[in-house]
């Protein structure tokens, strides 16, 4: 039996205009057009979508879990980036 691999695609669905595309899952398809058709059939059978993106899974560059600290920890000690860091008297009202 000869093996025929359809590549893997990641599917992103925009629920309605005004919302961002959100990752829904993945599918296999021979090319981009078929990936769109399959994604339509698999992820939007009940009106879940207004727009679809399909992206070859191998095109996604992902950060590695072990780099989590290096990438994200520096934000932890920068409390001055948050509004609550600043002391404003209540009398000033909502700001």
């Amino acid at each position: 039996m000869s093996k025929q691999h359809w590549p893997l695609w990641e599917v992103f669905v925009r629920g309605k205009n005004g919302l961002a595309h959100k990752h829904a899952g993945s599918i296999r398809a021979a090319d981009g057009r078929m990936a769109l058709e399959n994604a339509r059939d698999l992820y939007t059978r009940r009106g879940e979508g207004a727009s679809l993106w399909v992206v070859p899974a191998e095109a996604i560059i992902a950060s590695a879990p072990e780099d989590k600290g290096e990438l994200f920890d520096p934000a932890d000690d920068k409390v001055y980036r948050h509004p609550t860091f600043y002391e404003i008297p209540d009398d000033v009202g909502h700001m």
Binding site: Q4, W6, G25, L42, P65
Partner: protein, 322 residues
């Protein structure tokens, strides 16, 4: 000091702490090899069950008694195919190859839920499957929406949203038969008689005979034991049967005031083991149908790739000419 061979991998300790605090695990996170293997086995078996599960109901699409029933049944069977695809994708995130999983099913090496090895001789069986088999599946799957492996949990959220239509369409079929002629009511009762015990066995062996359960529960893959889920299903289903005016085929079934649950009889586990071993009423038929569908579709898979390649070459030639 521990020697290097017996020392626990610190990553494993961190992992255990993370999952026991209800932390989620994502595809590229470090995980113990046994956790990965358990999940690949469970998710791929779950996927195979969805795919094989299309057959008992697919059997009735051409004979559905009305157009309304027919469109609903087609939509349901299409959903089962979709559930299989969500699950194969989830298993692929663990490094499993889809081809290997499919091959294991076709070669009879992989398991799938035994419930799909029972036949659907009457239309009432379609009602009973939706009501009972999907009802049991929902009981199993709702807790899996919080399972520790992220992609599996997310697939289950989608699946559960879709399953509730399945159960309701099945119960509606049963309701219509139960309120119909004597012959229709008898047909509904007989379908309930056929599916009741196999459905109770969908939750797996009793806890004391389920050796892998404890570890799966420690890893938060499983959130409730087989017996807990079975009890939950019985408690939910008995009043639904009463509403239909049908009787559950279990002389030991009775409400236990003290426990606040129904007591019920012991399912025929000998039969279950036989079906698991491949000797159920439809095991061979189900696998043969799947193999035939796979072989008959081979040219489509090849043609789609050839077509994609041709389009790619044409696009390349056009861009060079420009």
């Amino acid at each position: 000091m521990k020697d290097a061979l017996t020392a626990t991998d610190p990553r494993e300790t961190a992992f255990e702490e993370h999952v026991s605090a209800d932390g989620q695990v994502e595809p590229k996170d470090w995980m113990p090899e046994a956790y990965r293997k358990t999940l690949v086995r469970q998710i791929s078996q779950h996927a195979h069950s969805e795919i094989i599960g299309m057959q008992p109901e697919g059997n009735w699409i051409t004979r559905a008694p009305s157009l309304r029933r027919k469109v609903a049944l087609i939509a349901k069977v299409q959903d089962e195919a979709g559930h299989g695809l969500y699950l194969y994708s989830a298993a692929e995130t663990l490094g499993a190859s889809r081809d290997d999983m499919v091959d294991a099913l076709l070669e009879g090496k992989a398991k799938y839920s035994s419930i799909f090895n029972y036949p659907t001789p009457t239309w009432a069986d379609i009602g009973a499957i939706g009501w009972l088999v999907d009802g049991a599946a929902i009981t199993n799957q709702v807790p899996l929406c919080r399972t520790s492996y992220g992609p599996y949990a997310r697939a289950m959220v989608r699946v559960c949203k879709e399953e509730s239509f399945h159960q309701r369409q099945g119960y509606e079929i049963m309701l219509q038969l139960a309120r119909g002629t004597d012959a229709q009511k008898k047909m509904a009762q007989e379908a309930l008689n056929r599916w009741w015990w196999p459905c109770l066995m969908m939750f797996g062996p009793p806890d004391h005979d389920s050796p892998n359960s404890a570890r799966s529960m420690a890893w938060k893959i499983k959130r409730h034991s087989n017996d807990e889920l079975r009890q939950r299903f019985v408690d939910q289903t008995v009043p639904q049967a009463e509403f239909l005016g049908l009787s559950i085929p279990d002389p030991d079934l009775k409400w236990n005031e003290e426990r606040g649950h129904y007591d019920f009889g012991t399912p025929p586990w000998d039969e279950f083991m036989e079906v698991v071993k491949g000797n159920g009423p439809c095991n061979r038929q189900r696998l043969n149908a799947r193999r035939k569908a796979h072989d008959d579709g081979a040219w489509v898979r090849e043609a789609a790739l050839a077509h994609a390649e041709k389009r790619r070459e044409r696009a390349e030639a056009a861009s060079q000419a420009a």
